[in-house]
Structures are given as structure tokens and as C-alpha cells.
Symmetry: C2
């Protein structure tokens, strides 16, 4: 993705763009099935530059992106996923356990790109603005960057999957990051093997879409 | 924004769309200066339906959107902002304090729409999937919905501002929401009075853009 011009008039967005954006949101998906095709490294770097335009509390820009590249480190992360996933499976019973066991919950083995995304709790950027009563806004800023990355990656016809079945302390240790970096997400990135309009967990009967949560409450 | 077709082939995104999406990300902004023009209520409802297509851990869809409409409740929120903002100002000294005092940090008075966005910690949707080792992923799902709302609102030429200078307990009390709902964001929404490519906090010399945070670390 190219950077927007740093000059010029504000863009006016039209209904044709809105329709395509709605399509992007609807077809985004959490992808766990990847083609082996490599992703051009410059494309990932471009996407991170775009993600760094996300909103952040006090303009603190606390996102830290780590590309996990060595086989040894990836294997440590995969082993950790396997332990955490087995423990999660053991917490379910009966039909739920059988359903859980049949789900594909990560593409860690197949994804050509692994990205760990952290929040730097030691950053002085932003001078604490907006963080006194809701300090968690710092972590939320990183989520906004991740979601920007995700949508822009999808517009490049890439797929992204967010893996949260990991022990964050173990991931921090395996990746040898500064102790003040908090793991927010571990992302698998690559070209998707399949395209779907419905989420994997809906298609496999784990959890349906809930229209009641689209409701606007009023006070 | 219209819903994407629930049928049909997956969209193929082209470079013209990517350029406009990059423009959307670049010109998004946290808006604090609004025109008094009302926002059509159906537009807000459409945007929330689109936001509800955001990724959520275990497909838990834990977002709860509350439109704050009565003058009395808005006044309570504004009074709380004023208290929190005065306390924040008192924590700075010298030049930083003078700079902080000159910033416009919310459009609570002017915004025609106030939206409080919560995470329902009591939800059973998703059956706990993906939340055992990183339970905070539930809150992050709500941030993804908020950021989807924000970008799609901008594509409707609306402005959104995220206010975090609030005591979340006081907001929950004022809005009389269930005790398991956690405040994630308080949003001001309306048509922007001005358009800018640079963030307000950059333009007013609080915090510059940090290109070093666009760097991809490698492991």
C-alpha cells in the first residue's frame, strides 16, 4: 500500500468507495489456512507504516512489531500454542469438547509470516496524556494499529489470523523483548487458501452471529 | 453504509481501492471540533451494524453501544471530564502544563452524537474460546469494533473523537449499565468543522510522529 500524499485537499469519500469498504469489512476474516506462497517483505513493511497511522492515546504510538523468522523461535511459539490449546480443550466437556477438538484455531505451521505485536509500557511518547484514568487506552492504541494492519492487508488480498491461545510471558521470553513490552497479539499472515463471508467459528457451529449486539442502547 | 451482499464471489481489491483506503487511514483523525449539524440516526445504526462485523475472540461479539442522549446524562459526563482533565493538568509542570492547558481534548459540548462503548464481561457468547491465557482479548475485540466504526464513519465524511479523560466507574454509574459492562471508549461523533492530515497533538507540538515505531524488529 502506498502512503497517502502528504499534501493536497482532504479526500471526499463517495458511495462507490463506501460499498467497497463495506465489502472489505464483511470479507475480512480471521484466516488460519494459508497458501505456502511467500509474502514480499516490502509489503509487510509498507503495511506496518500504514498501521502506524492508527489513533493512539496522547499520540503515544506504543506499537512494536516483531517479525518472528527463525525456525527455533517459531517452534517454541508453536509448542506453547499446543500446550495452551490442550489445556483449553481439557476445560470443555461433551459436545463442546468434541466441537473444540475439531476446530482449526491457528495457521502457525503454514503461515509464511509471523508477527508478534507488543505495547511498549515504558514509552514516554505522549507524556501520559489521556492515560491517567484509563491507562488501558495504551494497549487499545496497539489494537487499533493491528486492526488497521488487518484491514489494509486484506485489501492486498492477504489473510491475517490473530492467535490468543498463547502464554504471553512465554512468548515475551522466546522473543527476548524488553520486559516492559506487553504482548497484545500474535498474528499469522499469508495468502489465504480459501475465501469466506462467514467467520470460521460460525461456519463450524461454535458461535452464531448475534444481531442483538448490533442494537443501539439509549440513555 | 450499506451491508455487503450476503451472496456472491469474494471481492478482489485493486490498487485504486487501496489508494483510497490509504487516504482514509491517513486522513482519519481524532476529531474534537464539530459542526452543529445533526447526524441521521439511521446512519449511526448502520455504522454499528458494520462495526459488529469486527473480529472478536471466539466470535464473542462483546461490544455494547450506548447512545447518550439526555442533557442531564451528557452534563454528568462533561462534569466528570472537567474534573479528570483538571487533575491531569495539575500533574504537569512548566511548559508542558501551559501546552496541556491550551489543547482542546474533547468535543463533548459540540458533538451531536455521544456514544459510550462497553465490553460485556458477562457474555457467554464464544464459550470462553481464546480467552483462557489472554482474557484481555475480549476488551480488544471491542476496540476492533470501535476502530471499524471510526474508519467507516470517516468514509461517511463524519468525524469521531475518542475521550479517555473520564473516570470509567462514574460513566458506568451515570449511564446505569449492567455492572459487568466495562467502559472501553467514550466517542464524540459529528461532522467535522475542519479537516487535517496531521493529528491535533502533532500540530500543537505535544507529540511528533515517531518513524522509529514503524520499524519492523526481527527475531
Amino acid at each position: 500500500m502506498r502512503r497517502a500524499d502528504q499534501q493536497g485537499d482532504p479526500p471526499i469519500f463517495d458511495s462507490a468507495f463506501r460499498d467497497r469498504l463495506a465489502n472489505l469489512v464483511a470479507w475480512r476474516r480471521d484466516v488460519r489456512r494459508f497458501k505456502p506462497d511467500p509474502v514480499p517483505p516490502a509489503l509487510i513493511e509498507d503495511l506496518i507504516r500504514t498501521a502506524a497511522l492508527a489513533p493512539s492515546v496522547g499520540n503515544s504510538q506504543p506499537w512494536r512489531f516483531v517479525s518472528v523468522e527463525t525456525t527455533a523461535t517459531r517452534d517454541t511459539v508453536i509448542a506453547n500454542f499446543n500446550v495452551c490449546n490442550a489445556a483449553a480443550l481439557a476445560s470443555y466437556e461433551g459436545k463442546r469438547a468434541a466441537l473444540y477438538a475439531g476446530l482449526k484455531l491457528s495457521g502457525l505451521r503454514e503461515a509464511p509470516v509471523h508477527l508478534a505485536v507488543f505495547c511498549d509500557h515504558a514509552t514516554e511518547a505522549g507524556a501520559g496524556l489521556g492515560r491517567k484514568t484509563m491507562p488501558e487506552a495504551l494497549d487499545y492504541s496497539v489494537v487499533a494499529a493491528i486492526h488497521t494492519f488487518w484491514l489494509c492487508a486484506r485489501a492486498e488480498n492477504l489473510g491475517v489470523g490473530w492467535v490468543s491461545i498463547l502464554d504471553p510471558r512465554e512468548v515475551c521470553r522466546a522473543l527476548d523483548v524488553p520486559c516492559n513490552w506487553k504482548l497484545i497479539a500474535y498474528l499469522c499472515v499469508g495468502f489465504p487458501l480459501e475465501e469466506h463471508l462467514d467467520p470460521e467459528l460460525e461456519r463450524h457451529h461454535w458461535q452464531a452471529h448475534l444481531t442483538e449486539n448490533e442494537r443501539l442502547h439509549r440513555r
